[in-house]
Symmetry: C2
Subunit: 561 residues, 2 copies
């Protein structure tokens, strides 16, 4: 978990002053979050902090922004990870989109099977990436110092780059740099997962990560600037790939860097697969999203949330293709507005509390809140036309949805709360068993119905009453006279309408009785054989459900061939 | 019904000798089918005739071919009908595919709502089409005779046409002409729908239609040949449209012809919407396809079959776009092989019977069988590479599927047939009610359970046993000691596994009892609110279904807000 912060650096290229700005911002945010962790040792994501301190709407705003961002993280990180691979193997470029989607599916499957975040598996690529990049920077600096490094950008590339080195590029690069910051939120969310003392370890991890990340940002940007590296015009090679090629050549070290970059970016996507379902789980507990987001699958994972994330990010990838980068504006708005809300919430938290150092703490969180708010506003204003307006549509829509869901669940709770004692009616229910003939299933269902109640009616629907003669003849031998056999004529060979009419008539004549309809359900030997069975039972059940006072009992019959 | 035979003529262009060949074949087939109608007054489609006289595999072969053809008819007729419209309004050409799909959806919706084949509604466009085409032919012949008709094909079109006037074109045109012949099968299928005397009326209709159709084929082809009309190179205008423009100009008569052509072709597609579900119904009765194809919807139509046809033909249209014409090879193979099977079946039928005129009848049906078999073989051989091989894959696949379905249903019947008397166990079942708390629904479910049996257990799953204290305290006031309350601890907050384990344990300790699990199901006020409810109940039910001896009762609770 602790290392995923690194991912942002991997696919990105920033100019030096911008890198320093990002690094500074990162340190401000990290410091501010360290305080959040202390205050919320049970997990302090933006949703929880904003919801608790600022109110419902700010909380839901943070939640909606974060949910959007998690989806964007998966799409953008995966696309960037595959780009790192494609940089190394240019002839794979045509399958970039397919590979990205396959990567999302792979991560999804792993998460559905329940990846343990055991340090070892995830730590190896992380350390490899960390060490290889730091070593790369050191080598680069050394060769630069000895004047051993030179670079000849080709003409086309230079002009393309000059053209696009605008305010737009600067802000995009800034936004890219900020993808690394979701890691902060990720750590704050899962404090309880750390080893004891949890809060302290989480704080330390956060500090280290922010420091390393800042160092790497600045190192790579410094090198790229000094060499005068120009980004590849078609965005088909990452700056890191260009830089690595230049410093160490095309050998094994180059492939090591590219592979570990791909891995670290897929791990970054994986962070969302932990955080997104967890946030939905917390929101489901607070009844803002459907309750099934809080149900765990067989392997203790929140499968519904995982599948929702996978589906949304694959749609995003398929819809935007390799232009997924253009979504980074949305991303930055989402992440910084939720940071702002979270840290403003912390400011209120300290002001209301009686912490001895609250003055200092208000200043730290306040600085964070102001810094991220400034960034939010700058991006929102400058990038409004280029997609930031989408946030203004999606986030309120999501909030409206959350509130509607919450309203419904509250209404249900109101209806269900009671202190009244409900007494049994004291009479056996009236049991209705529709039977097509007297086969084994019908006979068993009738016997079962007799155990349920002493008032059982068998109903047989035929196109023509004469056709029911055979059944009547068998009846006394097979069942006896304890069960009434009702024959209903249905000249158009319809089954459901006459049955439903019969049940409705019974409801009218027996208003004080429970009605139980016993329907045999076939359980075939192979699951795909289900398509051949139970269709009538299913339709009948769906229709009966809307009739108050009628319970439906599925009586299973297991086919053995 | 009787007029749908006409449809084939509408969109098609045949050279004169080819038209005569098609017309002759049509007359042979029609004569042969008139005999089938006499022999099978209850409906004598190829499937029934071949199944009864030749055996299972020939019957299923005919059925599979026909099913494929019905799908093709819908796709091809709709596309042709829209082409007739586009011929009149060329600026609609870009929406051709969308319009075709919309037309299929329209016909589907009408059929799902249950279009009555009341003569009037369908007869008007039919007679309009018939009369306008016959008048057009008369006018054309008159102007031709008076030397008043001339035509200047533009150079590009001529060369394009010369190029493509190959064996391929000839056979395609032939296949196109044969689309009209499904009407024959359609009439044979639905003999009982005709007014009494049914068989006689059906025979007369068939005769008239074949005659009119042959006349129209030959008339239009003769005119087109005499004028030297060249088909539009991009297939963006039908020959009929060109011819009409030439004979009567661009006035109201032209639009009358085009509109009635579109209508008649949509009616042709509509024939499939009657025949396809009906064939599946017959096959479902014989247990070769899932039983739900034999269930009627609310409006007495076989909705499943209708939807299956709509889905397949839309897929076909979307997949092949305006190239749907290239599927006509498949079509011809399908229709002629089923004709061959049907008529061979009739030959055997007469040979086995003792009809006084059976010698003559054998000759008539035999001629039909040989003629259609020759056509089948010619098309299969010459068009093998261009798609006919698809039939050799699809038809056997469908047959294998039918046989598998049949095998399964037979196995089920074997298992269900019994003469054994099943006695009630004589003991109330053991009723299990899982409860999340003591809300109104739980209280009602518990009271209902007490009416079902005197042995009721309530099961409550909690993460920590201490949390169940509140429930225990309420218990005696709300329920009393007649129901045992079982508290199950589930530290990982899982619900299903501990419940299922509990049920499994009960099954082991009470092997001789029925177990009934009572699950409340919420019925929300608005159907879309279902997404917020019943997920746990659904999962639990799915899991319990696979445990023999456990019945699940859905106890509905109707939400009022």
């Amino acid at each position: 978990m602790r290392v995923l912060l690194l991912a942002g650096v991997a696919a990105l290229s920033l100019t030096l002053p911008l890198s320093i700005a990002v690094a500074l911002l990162l340190i401000v945010v990290a410091t501010s979050y360290q305080q959040t962790i202390t205050a919320y040792p049970g997990g302090g994501g933006s949703y929880i902090v904003a919801h608790e301190n600022l109110g419902v709407i700010p909380g839901l705003t943070a939640a909606a922004s974060l949910l959007v961002d998690y989806v964007l993280t998966v799409a953008v990180s995966t696309a960037a990870g595959i780009l790192a691979l494609v940089s190394a193997f240019p002839n794979l470029a045509q399958y970039q989109l397919e590979m990205s989607i396959a990567a999302v599916i792979l991560v999804t499957v792993l998460n559905l099977r329940g990846v343990r975040e055991s340090g070892t598996v995830f730590a190896i690529p992380t350390y490899v990436f960390l060490l290889s990049i730091l070593a790369l920077i050191a080598m680069g600096l050394f060769r630069l110092a000895t004047g051993d490094l030179s670079y000849q950008p080709d003409q086309a590339a230079t002009s393309a780059s000059t053209q696009s080195l605008t305010w737009f590029l600067v802000l995009s690069a800034f936004a890219k740099g900020c993808t690394a910051m979701t890691g902060t939120e990720a750590i704050a969310n899962v404090v309880p997962v750390f080893q004891a003392p949890e809060a302290k370890n989480a704080r330390i991890t956060l500090g280290w990560m922010a420091g390393l990340l800042a160092a790497m940002f600045i190192g790579i940007s410094f090198l790229a600037t000094q060499i005068g590296l120009v980004p590849s015009p078609n965005e088909d090679e990452t700056v890191l790939s260009q830089l690595t090629r230049l410093i160490v050549g095309d050998g094994w070290y180059y492939y090591l860097v590219q592979f570990s970059t791909t891995l670290i970016l897929l791990l970054a996507a994986n962070t969302s697969f932990n955080s997104f379902p967890r946030l939905l789980y917390i929101m489901a507990r607070d009844r803002y999203v459907p309750r099934w987001f809080s149900l765990r699958g067989d392997r203790l994972v929140y499968s519904t949330g995982i599948l929702a994330l996978a589906a949304s990010s694959i749609l995003l990838l398929a819809g935007f293709g390799s232009n997924v980068d253009s979504l980074l504006n949305l991303y930055a708005i989402g992440v910084f507005s939720s940071f702002t809300l979270s840290q403003s919430g912390m400011v209120l938290h300290w002001l209301r509390g009686d912490d001895p150092h609250r003055r200092r703490k208000v200043i730290v969180n306040g600085t964070g809140a102001v810094a991220t708010m400034v960034v939010t506003i700058v991006i929102a204003v400058t990038k409004f036309a280029e997609g930031a307006w989408v946030v203004i549509i999606i986030v309120p829509l999501l909030i409206a949805l959350f509130l509607a869901v919450n309203g419904h669940y509250r209404a249900v709770s109101r209806q269900l709360h009671t202190e009244v004692v409900v007494k049994p009616r004291g009479a056996s229910p009236l049991v209705v068993v529709p039977i097509p003939n007297l086969n084994l299933v019908s006979r068993r269902a009738l016997a079962f119905a007799q155990d349920l109640s002493n008032r059982v009616v068998a109903v047989h629907v035929v196109p023509d009453v004469k056709e029911a003669e055979a059944l009547r003849n068998q009846w006394n031998d097979a069942v006896g006279d304890e069960i009434t056999l009702e024959i209903i004529e249905s000249p158009y060979r319809l089954l459901l309408p006459p049955l439903l009419a019969y049940v409705d008539a019974l409801r009218e004549t027996h208003p004080d009785d429970y009605l139980v309809v016993v329907l045999p359900e076939f359980v075939p030997k192979h699951w795909w054989e289900n398509i051949l069975h139970n269709q009538t039972a299913l339709r009948l059940k769906a229709a009966l459900l809307y009739r108050p006072g009628v319970a439906v009992t599925s009586f299973p019959y297991h086919l053995i061939e």
